[in-house]
């Protein structure tokens, strides 16, 4: 269990923080959404990589196989992916509506417009 042996978690953390940073630091709403998707997707990888059993195969019953990976996290994450799709569709739909209402998708310009009475 060396530090490098847990490389899947390092990848997850890297992706998660990248996505989180994009979401926080960008002012462009579309880029923020991209960051948010990355952030969500990294969690999917966390779940899927955790379900891997060393030496196990895909959890479909077949002759000669006794060791299977854990299928439950896959099922859970299928649900989470659907939630992610819904979130991204709704988020982008809101961005489209914001663009129509304000004529821009830059957060600072939107804030400027709102401050003028």
């Amino acid at each position: 269990m060396s530090i490098l042996g847990l490389y899947n978690y390092w990848i997850v953390i890297l992706l998660m923080m990248t996505g989180f940073y994009i979401t926080i630091s960008r002012t462009n709403l579309v880029k923020q959404m991209v960051g948010l998707f990355m952030f969500q997707t990294s969690v999917f990888i966390l779940y899927i990589s955790m379900s891997k059993v060393e030496g196990g195969t895909a959890p479909i019953i077949a002759e000669g196989l006794t060791l299977y990976s854990n299928p439950l996290p896959h099922v859970l994450i299928l649900t989470a992916i659907v939630v992610g799709v819904a979130t991204s569709a709704l988020g982008l739909a809101l961005v489209v509506r914001i663009q129509e209402a304000y004529g821009t998708v830059e957060e600072d310009e939107i804030l400027d417009q709102d401050e003028e009475p």
Binding site: I60, L78, V82, E100
Partner: protein, 140 residues
């Protein structure tokens, strides 16, 4: 895209197979990998490909938005209806075992119907999302 003959011909050849593959994934889901979610997305992708090549208006003549929207609702209702059927037949909500005289067969019936409901809703939602974004400019 009227002048892209290659795309139009290839798409016309591909789309039936994509839809067929979706149905395979849908109904083979209880024997191998597959199921409603995947099948729904593949089916939706077939329709979206059609809309990309032939235009959203043509696609919405094939599948009018009202029907797609009804599909969203009907899929969920099928799912919930199977759940309620289990309840009415004396089991718990979503208990498939009571749907047929033999519990194993009941499980089979239940999961097939449920996955069909899921597939319908997912395909309809995918198409609705695409129409909502792609048809936006013509609406406003």
């Amino acid at each position: 895209m009227t002048h892209h003959h290659v795309l139009r011909v290839i798409a016309k050849l591909m789309i039936p197979f994509i839809l067929l593959f979706a149905l395979y994934v849908q109904f083979h889901g209880d024997f191998g990998p597959g199921g409603g979610f995947q099948a729904g997305v593949i089916f939706g992708a077939g329709i979206i490909l059609y809309a990309l090549i032939y235009g959203v208006e043509t696609a919405s003549r094939v599948l009018p938005p009202r029907i797609v929207r009804a599909g969203v609702a009907l899929g969920i209702l099928l799912y919930a209806g199977v759940g309620l059927a289990g309840l009415l037949l004396g089991g718990n909500f979503l208990e498939y075992g009571v749907l047929a005289s033999d519990p194993t067969r009941g499980q089979h019936v239940g999961i097939t119907l449920i996955e069909f409901g899921v597939g319908t809703t997912v395909a309809a939602v995918m198409i609705t999302i695409f129409f909502a974004f792609a048809g936006r400019r013509t609406q406003s």
